[in-house]
Symmetry: C2
Subunit: 474 residues, 2 copies
């Protein structure tokens, strides 16, 4: 039985996606053009993501702060690449109260400028370093085409901004945060990711280099899911962040920044969900288990209560659905919402001393003894679902990952069953632009530690410098 509110994923992936977002009540359009509303189910997912990542950040010595969301244009202009990158999609405040402002303010598209301005005041000596700050906030980029989670004018994210005494330490930080993101994607979101360096053309405006986390969606389209930038001294020179080093000399500090956003939720949907709605990995599901007692038999309700208490005590987020809706309606609702495990307790089953566990990922139903060690059983099932989702996603990604040695091969793949294309590249932007002519295929990242697959650039045939992953992107 298929959820009728949801389009077939194989028929129209884009429509399927927005159907899932709506049916699972994750987000909705608002009266504000290009901006979405995060509804309770969507926001709960963001809160769960925040809580896990925030813990990882704090365990690695980071502290949270909050900086203003308005940036004076002149401050933004101090770093020329950044303003060029972001001015075309800025939202500008020009009036405050009844007055026209003397200088317009951009609503933060990202906060390198303000953090640098702040660090310039606070960092005087190597003893003040490092500063490892992060903020959770809203940002704005005035996009033309928008889609829930993937691209909206306002979105929520975290942005880490750190400042260090040495190049080495800052470079280590860049990689450390990249690896935290990778771990989070793989262990919590159950999404296998490729990490690597962006090309010069694709790197962040103002960065010396950018590392990226790239995921492949079910339909073979790539999603840039997180980035970690090394700035060297570019911002510290533009914003004058100087400190007395251990040799008692003034030196410009070394900086990084790194961020992930609500866009991850879009990735989560497009990797795991199906025609019946949302599918969530247990480790990131805001609610892990729902108990549905069928009918109002006393034994049924008692057992439901007992199981609820046991699971909650064991730290498994569980709730019982005691509303007056029919069991079938409840099953469909919890399924579309992606609750990983549903426990059905019915009078007839109970007469045979059985209860039913339904797992969301495979939609299998499993009968278990009503007197089993339910905590143990559910824990194992949740682990199994988590692993299964990861393995399924990895299998899909591997199936859709191709090694190509000619442009013709790339063209054929991107026009039939797109995915990640691994191909050699000479390092010239002209060849990247040539690739882009194939349905917008872009370099996702340079693979730094993998074996070359040939010695010739897939486009021009000249000497290759890098093995690159390419893809069509969101």
């Amino acid at each position: 039985m298929k959820n009728k509110a949801i389009t077939d994923r194989e028929v129209d992936f884009a429509k399927w996606y927005t159907d899932v977002v709506k049916a699972a009540k994750l987000a909705d359009y608002s009266s504000v053009k290009g901006c979405c509303i995060l509804e309770p189910n969507g926001y709960a997912l963001w809160e769960k993501i925040q809580s896990v990542l925030d813990k990882m950040f704090k365990e690695t010595g980071h502290q949270n702060v909050y900086l203003p969301m308005f940036i004076p244009e002149s401050l933004m202009r101090k770093e020329s690449e950044l303003i060029e990158g972001f001015a075309p999609e800025g939202a500008w405040v020009t009036q405050g109260g009844k007055n026209t402002l003397e200088e317009r303010l951009i609503v933060r598209p990202t906060s390198e400028t303000l953090f640098s301005d702040y660090y310039a005041l606070k960092v005087k000596s190597y003893r003040d370093l490092p500063k490892l700050y992060n903020q959770w906030c809203n940002v704005v980029r005035w996009e033309k085409e928008t889609r829930p989670f993937l691209r909206t004018r306002e979105f929520l994210w975290q942005e880490g901004h750190t400042v260090h005494e040495t190049e080495k330490e800052a470079k280590e930080e860049t990689l450390k945060m990249l690896n935290i993101y990778k771990k989070f994607f793989e262990e919590y979101l159950a999404i296998p990711v490729i990490t690597g360096r962006k090309t010069e053309k694709e790197k962040f405006a103002g960065a010396e280099y950018t590392y990226t986390v790239e995921a492949l969606m079910y339909n073979g389209v790539a999603l840039q899911s997180g980035t970690s930038h090394y700035f060297g001294q570019k911002f510290s020179k533009a914003y004058d962040i100087k400190f007395l080093n251990r040799n008692n000399q003034l030196e410009y500090a070394y900086q990084t920044s790194w961020g992930v956003s609500t866009r991850m939720i879009g990735g989560l949907i497009m990797v795991h969900s199906d025609e019946n709605g949302l599918v969530l990995p247990p480790k990131i599901a805001p609610r892990q288990v729902v108990i549905v007692p069928i009918g109002d038999d006393e034994k049924v309700l008692n057992l439901s209560n007992q199981i609820l208490e046991k699971l909650k005590s064991a730290g498994i987020v569980t709730f019982a659905d005691l509303t007056e809706k029919s069991p079938g309606f409840k099953f469909a609702e919890h399924e579309v919402n992606g609750i990983p495990v549903r426990i059905e307790i019915g009078k007839r089953d109970l007469e045979n001393n059985l209860i039913t566990l339904a797992r969301r990922d495979t939609r299998e139903k499993i009968n278990v003894d009503a007197n089993c060690d339910i905590v143990e059983v559910v824990k194992n099932l949740l682990d199994d679902i988590q692993n299964n989702l990861y393995n399924k996603a990895l299998k899909r990604r591997n199936e859709l990952t191709y090694d190509c040695k000619t442009l013709e091969e790339v063209e054929k793949i991107m026009n039939t069953k797109p995915g990640f294309v691994r191909a050699m590249w000479c390092g010239e932007e002209a060849c990247e632009l040539k690739m882009k002519e194939i349905r917008g295929t872009k370099s996702r990242c340079i693979l730094e530690n993998e074996k070359p697959i040939s010695d010739k650039c897939v486009v021009c045939g000249k000497k290759a410098k890098h093995l690159v992953v390419w893809g069509i992107q969101y």
Copy 2:
């Protein structure tokens, strides 16, 4: 010994306040006029406040969401009182990317309009009710004069917006949230508060009535610290939130909203702190205990470690300061930061089997047996500090609360030792305006369940309707 970076509170209260904010590294000014930076210590306090309140909200059935921060002017204009109240202090976005917008957008000063617009779409039947939503976000009001935490152009807050089937239920929600705030202020922030209804003149633009939480600062100035509004059907009529009721008739829904902000942190400082910096009630302190081992004696360090582990295991947020600074420097730093308890472990004391506990509130030092049940001792001490701070604040507030029967009495008090004035009021705005001539004294709230202190209005002498608390406000 007094902290030299901090002005004497009795000499210049305003200067003392900003000195404490700076010395405790809670917040700093930014290059963005009227906007402050919440530094790690300040933001950690906000995170702690959020975590406690968020739990209280969720336990009472509320869910978090996130709505856009831009509101089209036309949407805002649907409720005339609201736009009149907020337009004069709006920040307006007029340019998006390279284009001038067809309609300017106000950066949310509050979100009744967007929530109402959203509810109009979602609420069709009594079965959809209630919706109990809250959001944690930034808001903007283009203030002229700003002070850290108390009044900044951008600030952080939570705004709850609920919609109900009946007037009764919505009115109960208004009071329920008021009482949650009261509980939070008294039990966590250790700030005694007065709650009551605002006069017509002082109520929120668009509300039928407003309840408020009022606190008295050390200097006798009042701080409006939280509000809970009953809207009746005002917004549901303006934004067309209609539902089919149980009699199958279309009816306009009943709404409330309620909020508290980072302003609370200002209140926390101005009630408890002193010439040595921040003083924090243990239940809201992000870090409750610091251990300072003196010297690098092995026994000292071992004991420090043992105590650290014991306290952490018991759920007491504890850290050890192992930096290379001098003990005196560390003591002063943790004192200015308001860490409630400091444990000093020194070699000489240890030879006598003693360690020292220093409590931040009274600055007393207490010697205890090095082998004592440290968890028990520290728990009791933290409780004692929490209670002492509340009682001290209550005593101060009671000393500065006056019953007045004539304008002369009010004048004398407000000009010498201001505080809360309890006085009768006839209900006429003219009399409120007359009071305002006395150093800006305003009605704080109407006390609904207390005995009248006379039958005549303190201003005009005519028949009194209400017992009102008055004060000079921030």
